[in-house]
């Protein structure tokens, strides 16, 4: 551990630092988000910044990238006190940033996006061949050979994330801020990213690495700083700490551990899907889910797991096969139909598909269940607010109250409200995609607990996730899909992360479809 006793060696080090935060405070209104943060970045170092959502990591990055200005303390760059006014000012100071939320312009080409606003030009006229050449050279570091003239829209998410990273690298920054850079990457791509990061640090570039993935952090980081509730808890050499230690510092002592799985008797079959096929996406998908059951759906990118779910809830059309809800044949023409039949669907993209970011918590909560709170055609605000207050309590949402604008909450807390919004409707079947994507350990625990409580109360739940350990600990059964085909339908207690990965990658033979052996996985 490093403590701030300013010996001469320390002072020397401080002078050499790429930047230093000393006693930095940041308040939004009366809400103190950062409370006296000390943090520094040395040349050639990868310094991980970890903490639960809402701990202040994003705000820290925001301060360094000129999105916010500190309300107290000082920020030094190469030993000079600076005030970073805007992202363009940060770039001038040699600070580049990769955001968790993609910041690309979809319709424009890959090359233009990489050099957004900084395209090589002569007399203001863009030099297109040079632009493409430079973009290709940068992408080559990732062994990625794509046509840099194609629009970013046409790329898969993981490639877009690489483009985003390349964009930050292209700025020739001495400081690189990475906010969850691997959230959409495959293990191979993560490996390639780490290789590039090591090359950059060898050149003396310093990197601040924000992530929830402990394994990644312990692979790549030189030092780890833990934030909790706006305060810095510790800064440690990676070699001198452990994952358990860091996690317990993040959540303040108690380790939540694994959620207890309830193996109660299952109820009736709620949803039964037989031979569902769609020429373009998936083939002969059959499974069922019963009341009280959590069915995990495991699949990698391109497994078409979302397409299958979207077809079930009326968002995608043009498939053959049969869908039975409570034993009756159905086929929903729209999500509204599906909702009225008692199905809830929580989409993957929280910000674009799930929430009204500029609206209050209580309005977001009530958006899918207005009829419940309406009397004589009027929405009863008090009933909505009290529902919101109980959701805040149940999920331990970190907020100032139902009136707060949801966009101001951290990702994990937004996710909780989004889930609560659908639970409000008390659907017979809840389909939820990536329930804990980009969510910290604490929020993950609460979300899992709530889902299991609802299942115990008799709700049928389908959880689609690429977080396989999550599926193993949360589900009763797991359906594995690969390129639109069911590869297996196994009891979660028999599944391991490895066996799921093998199947999801299409490496092991398809198991017998579940409807030939109904509920067998559940027999004692």
């Amino acid at each position: 551990m490093k403590h701030e006793s300013l010996g001469s060696a320390e002072r020397e080090e401080r002078h050499r630092a790429l930047f230093t935060l000393s006693g930095v405070k940041k308040a939004f209104g009366s809400n103190l988000v950062l409370d006296g943060i000390d943090f520094e970045l040395q040349p050639g170092e990868i310094h991980a910044l970890v903490g639960e959502n809402g701990a202040g990591k994003s705000t820290c990055l925001g301060l360094l990238y000129g999105l916010h200005q500190p309300t107290g303390g000082k920020l030094e760059r190469n030993g000079d006190v600076v005030r970073i006014e805007s992202p363009s000012h940060a770039q001038e100071l040699g600070i580049g940033c990769v955001f968790q939320e993609l910041s690309l312009a979809g319709g424009l080409s890959v090359a233009e996006n990489i050099f957004a606003g900084r395209a090589p030009s002569r007399f203001g006229v863009v030099d297109w061949p040079e632009l493409r050449r430079r973009a290709e050279a940068l992408l080559a570091e990732f062994d990625l050979s794509i046509n840099v003239s194609q629009p970013v829209d046409s790329l898969p998410i993981s490639t877009r994330q690489i483009v985003e990273i390349v964009k930050a690298i292209s700025m020739d920054s001495q400081v690189l801020l990475l906010d969850e850079p691997t959230s959409a990457l495959t293990p191979d791509e993560v490996e390639a990213l780490f290789k590039v990061l090591r090359k950059l640090t060898a050149k003396g570039i310093g990197i601040v690495y924000v992530s929830h993935h402990m394994t990644e952090i312990f692979t790549i980081a030189d030092r780890i700083s833990v934030l909790r509730d706006g305060k810095k808890i510790s800064t440690t050499q990676t070699s001198q700490t452990s994952q358990a230690q860091v996690v317990s510092e993040m959540i303040g002592g108690a380790h939540p551990g694994d959620v207890e799985r309830s193996d109660d008797q299952l109820g009736d079959v709620v949803l039964k899907v037989e031979h569902l096929s769609n020429d373009d996406h998936f083939h002969d998908v059959s499974f069922d889910v019963s009341a009280g059951e959590i069915l995990g759906v495991a699949g990698l990118l391109g497994s078409r797991r979302s397409e299958i779910m979207r077809s079930l809830v009326g968002l995608m059309h043009g498939f053959s096969g049969a869908v039975y809800l409570h034993g009756e044949s159905t086929g929903f023409r729209s999500l509204r139909d599906a909702m009225q039949a008692g199905i809830g669907y929580v989409p993957e993209e929280r910000k674009t598909e799930g929430l009204f970011l500029e609206d209050t918590l209580y309005n977001n909560l009530a958006a899918a269940s207005l009829d419940k709170h309406t009397r004589f055609g009027l929405v009863r605000r008090r009933s909505v607010i009290s529902a919101c207050e109980s959701a805040i309590k149940a999920f331990r949402v970190k907020t100032t109250g139902p009136e707060e604008i949801i966009g101001a909450l951290s990702g994990g807390n937004q996710q909780k409200i989004m889930l609560a919004k659908w639970l409000e409707r008390a659907p017979a079947l809840l389909i939820i995609e990536e329930p804990t994507k980009g969510v910290d350990v604490g929020a993950k625990f609460q979300i899992h607990t709530e889902l299991q409580r609802r299942a115990a109360d008799g709700m049928a739940i389908i959880v689609v996730s690429s977080d396989f350990p999550e599926l193993v600990s949360l589900s009763t059964r797991i359906l594995v899909v690969h390129e639109g085909r069911v590869m297996g339908n196994i009891a979660a207690r028999d599944a391991t992360e490895d066996s799921l990965l093998q199947m999801a990658a299409g490496l092991s033979a398809p198991a017998r479809p579940s409807n030939e052996i109904p509920q067998e996985g559940m027999a004692p």
Partner: protein, 330 residues
Amino acid sequence: MSMAIDSDKAVSKNPMQRILKAFIDIRELTLLFMIAVIIIVMANLNPYFLSVSNFRALSVGMAPTAIIVIGMAILLASGGFDLSVGSVMALSSTVVAMMMLAGYSIPISVACSLVLGAAVGFSNGMLITGLGINPLIATLGTMSIARGIALVLTEGFSLSSLPKEFGWIGKASLGGFPVLVLLTLSLILIFDLAVRHTRFFRQVYFIGANEKAAMLSGIHVGRVRIIAYVLTGVLAALAGVLLASRLMSGTPTAGNGIELQVLAAAVIGGASLRGGEGTILGAFLGVVFVALINNSMTMLAVSIYWQMIVIGAVLVSAVALDMLIRGRRG
């Protein structure tokens, strides 16, 4: 690890399909084709259609719209738009006339009305980026104010008996082509190239496609937006001056409703109210297309009321068709 994204599935298709795809993808080609169809059909229906005098009337008539559509297309690409262009056009045409009647020289009068256009554009830009007022509301307000000022200044009357030399640009020809038309075409060409190839105007597309991303990329979003509104104001004022020169009068009621025609033409030409799309050439071809349809219907003695119905139907079907094609392509 090596990945090759199948960047262009068209490569595997045969040449015929590729040409067809490019045709649908590139709005300019689709429009050129439809313009050609109209010309061929009309040439057979009415021999007068192909005459020099018809084309001259047509091209001179659409010059103001074509100049204004440049600004509108840039604004649409940036995710904004401007309803005040018609009023600015009227205001500048009356101001240039009043100043000349008051004895100021032609260059001074013209310069002042262009500065006035820039000032209205600047106010639009400040209202929208500085105060965060929705572009629809902000420019609806300035539209009413600018028109009101033009009417107050002239008490509603047109101002005529302008100096003879002022009519030169509006009337003169160069090698058989009206100067007005040559000027318009050069502006279209210059701005089309600028928007495609200069660093400044490329920023406009980033802002339109994803404003937050543009800001995080270090683009001065507010500054670029304001410049786009100022440019639109200046172009609208220029259109007003040229109109005054051609008609030899300043008209406070000029350009009434032109803002919606310009918007429609730009959208037909491939721009989108969502921003991030469209080119100057496309928007210009949209203007030509609409003007040709109007002209054809006049030649075929279709009533003016029916023309409005047809233009509305063309606008909606152009956008609907585009969405259907794109939707299917996924």
